[in-house]
C-alpha cells in the first residue's frame, strides 16, 4: 500500500494518460485491478476529433505523437466509460484539459460529481485567452488553473501534470504548490518533429508532436529530481520508464508513484512486470 496525496494505492504503478485509452483495450489483456491506478485519456469539455493523420513518427528509442486530444468529451466519459472502470479495484485518475481556468474548473466539477478518485490537470495545452501559449509554461497561468480546479474539486486530490518544455520546471512546480495542488505528475512529452526525406515534409500532419519513450527518460529523471527538491508535494514520475531498473531510478530521483506509458506499446504487460519487479 502506498499513500499518495491522501489516497491509498495498492502499488506504485499507474498507466499514463493517453497510452491506455479508458482501459477497455488493456482489460482484454489483464485484470486492471492489478494496477495501482489508471490515468485515463485526457478529456475536454466538448468532444474533440483530434488532429489530422499521420499522428505518429518513430524516433530513436521512442516516438512522436500528435493525437490532438481526440476524446468524446467529459460528459460521455462520465456516462459511458467511468462505470466500466469502476468495475475494477484500482484508482481512477482522470486527466483533463481546458482552454481557460473557468473551463478547467467546470470540467473538474463534472469529473468529481462523476466519482473519480483523483484529478490530473493537463496544463500543457494552449491557453486560448493568452494567445495560445501553454498554461504550463507560465507560473502565473499554472497557478490560476490549479487554484480554479482546487476550488471545484471538493476535496478530491488535484495532481497537476507538468510539461518539460520550460526553462525552469521547478518554478512552475512551486506555483502549483502555492495554488493548492495535492500532487504533481511529470513529465508530459517533449515537443519534437521529424521530416520525411522522400517528400521533404514533416512526417506529422500537425508538424510537431510529443516525444516519448526511453529517449526522454534522462530528461524526466532530471525534472523529477529538480522538482522534488523545490516542493514538498508528492510526485508521480513518468517519461520513458521501460523496465524495473528505470522505475527504481525514478523512485530514487524523488517520485512516490510511477506512470508507465509508451513502453506498453512494445510490451503491454510491462506495467505488471514492473509491479512484480518492485516487489509490490
Amino acid at each position: 500500500m502506498v499513500s499518495f496525496a491522501g489516497i491509498n494505492f495498492k502499488n506504485r504503478v499507474t498507466l499514463a494518460s493517453g497510452t491506455c485509452g479508458f482501459g477497455r483495450e488493456i482489460a482484454e489483456l489483464y485484470d486492471l485491478s492489478r494496477l495501482g491506478g489508471i490515468c485515463t485519456k485526457g478529456v475536454t469539455l466538448l468532444p474533440r476529433l483530434g488532429n489530422l493523420p499521420p499522428r505518429v513518427a518513430e524516433t530513436p528509442a521512442g516516438m512522436l505523437n500528435s493525437v490532438g486530444l481526440q476524446n468524446p468529451g467529459v460528459e460521455a466519459f462520465v456516462r459511458d466509460e467511468l462505470p466500466f472502470l469502476r468495475g475494477f479495484d484500482t484508482k481512477i485518475i482522470a486527466n483533463f484539459s481546458g482552454e481557460s481556468p473557468e473551463e478547467f474548473a467546470k470540467i473538474a466539477a463534472i469529473l468529481v460529481e462523476g466519482g473519480v478518485d483523483m484529478l490530473e490537470v493537463n496544463i500543457s495545452c494552449p491557453n486560448l485567452h493568452a494567445g495560445g501559449t501553454a498554461f504550463g509554461t507560465d507560473p502565473v497561468a499554472s497557478f490560476e488553473v490549479t487554484y480554479a480546479v482546487k476550488e471545484a474539486a471538493k476535496g478530491v486530490p488535484v495532481m497537476v501534470k507538468l510539461t518539460p518544455n520550460v526553462t525552469d520546471i521547478a518554478a512552475i512546480a512551486v506555483a502549483c504548490e502555492k495554488a493548492g495542488a495535492d500532487a504533481l505528475s511529470l513529465i508530459n512529452t517533449l515537443l519534437g518533429m521529424r521530416i520525411d526525406l522522400k517528400t521533404g515534409k514533416p512526417i506529422l500532419a500537425n508538424v510537431t508532436g510529443g516525444l516519448s519513450g526511453p529517449a526522454v527518460f534522462p530528461v524526466a529523471l532530471r525534472c523529477v529530481w529538480q522538482v522534488a527538491r523545490a516542493v514538498k508535494l508528492p510526485i508521480m514520475g513518468l517519461g520513458g520508464i521501460s523496465d524495473v531498473d528505470t522505475a527504481r531510478e525514478m523512485l530514487l530521483a524523488g517520485a512516490t508513484m510511477l506512470s508507465i506509458g509508451t513502453a506498453q506499446f512494445r510490451n503491454p504487460l510491462i506495467p505488471l512486470e514492473i509491479i512484480d519487479g518492485l516487489g509490490e
Binding site: 493523420p53 518513430e58 516516438m63
Partner: protein
C-alpha cells in the same frame, strides 16, 4: 528454428514464424504487431498472409523499408512467438457465396489468407513483374487470377481494371492495396449492389486500440485502423 525468411520479389520478403496460437486464431484480414528487435522501438503491423494450423507457422509478406523490416529480413535473425504476438484487428467478414479479391502490391498478402477460407477469384495489380508476389499461391487457391502491371511486364498493362469481370457471380469484394487503388475500387463498384470491404493501412504505435495514432477518417469521425479496422466497409470511409 522459430522463423525463416526469404526474398520473393524485388525488395519484398516472405517471413514464416512459429506462432501456433496465432495460426489457430487468426482470421483473414487480421494482423500481427511484430517486435522486430534491434533498434526499431515500435512494433510493425504485418497482415497475416497464410497460416498452417498443422505446423503452427504463420506467413507474412513485407517490403524492406527501414530499421524494423531490415531486422526481419536478416536470415540470421530468429523471431520468437512473443515477438509475433496475437491476432489483432477486425478482419474480413464471413460471406456466403463467392468473393472477388482485388489486391495491389503488398496488399495481395492478406487476400491470399482470405482466398483459403472462401471461394474466390482474384485481380492483382503490381508495379512490374519483378515486384509481383504470390501468383502461384493465388492460382492454386482461386478460380481465376487476372494480373495487371503498371508497365505491362507481366499480365495486362495498366492499373487494376474490372471491365471484363462478371460481377454478378460475387457476394462481396475484398480489396487491399494502395489508397489510390482502394478509392478506385470504391468508384468502380459505386453503382453495384455489391458490398466492398477494404483493408486500410496506417503507421501504428500500440496496435490494440488504446493510443489513437493510427486513425483514418470515417463517417463516424476518426476510426482506429488497428481496432475498428483494418478492414472497413468501404462506404464508411471518407475517401
Amino acid at each position: 528454428m522459430s522463423s525463416a525468411v526469404r526474398q520473393i520479389a524485388e525488395n519484398i520478403y516472405s517471413l514464416e514464424a512459429y506462432a501456433p496460437e496465432l495460426a489457430k486464431s487468426a482470421q483473414p484480414g487480421q494482423f500481427a504487431h511484430i517486435d522486430c528487435g534491434g533498434s526499431a522501438y515500435l512494433r510493425r503491423p504485418l497482415s497475416v498472409c497464410d497460416v498452417s494450423e498443422e505446423s503452427g507457422f504463420v506467413r507474412f509478406v513485407f517490403e524492406l523499408k527501414g530499421e524494423g523490416t531490415r531486422q526481419l529480413a536478416n536470415s540470421q535473425y530468429q523471431i520468437s512467438e512473443p515477438q509475433v504476438g496475437r491476432a489483432l484487428g477486425k478482419g474480413f467478414p464471413e460471406v456466403d457465396g463467392r468473393v472477388l479479391l482485388i489486391g495491389g502490391g503488398l496488399g495481395a498478402a492478406p487476400l491470399l489468407f482470405a482466398a483459403r477460407r472462401c471461394g474466390a477469384d482474384a485481380v492483382l495489380g503490381f508495379a512490374n513483374g519483378k515486384r509481383a508476389i504470390l501468383i502461384p499461391e493465388f492460382s492454386a487457391a482461386c478460380g481465376t487470377v487476372n494480373v495487371f502491371t503498371d508497365d505491362g511486364s507481366l499480365g495486362k498493362a495498366g492499373v487494376v481494371d474490372l471491365s471484363g469481370v462478371d460481377l454478378s457471380q460475387y457476394s462481396a469484394v475484398f480489396a487491399c492495396g494502395p489508397k489510390a487503388m482502394l478509392r478506385n475500387c470504391q468508384l468502380m463498384l459505386a453503382k453495384e449492389q455489391l458490398p466492398l470491404y477494404v483493408s486500410m493501412e496506417e503507421h501504428m504505435a500500440c496496435g490494440y486500440g488504446a493510443c489513437l495514432v493510427c486513425v483514418c477518417a470515417t463517417k463516424k469521425g476518426y476510426s482506429r485502423v488497428c481496432k475498428d479496422g483494418p478492414v472497413f466497409e468501404s462506404g464508411a470511409i471518407i475517401w
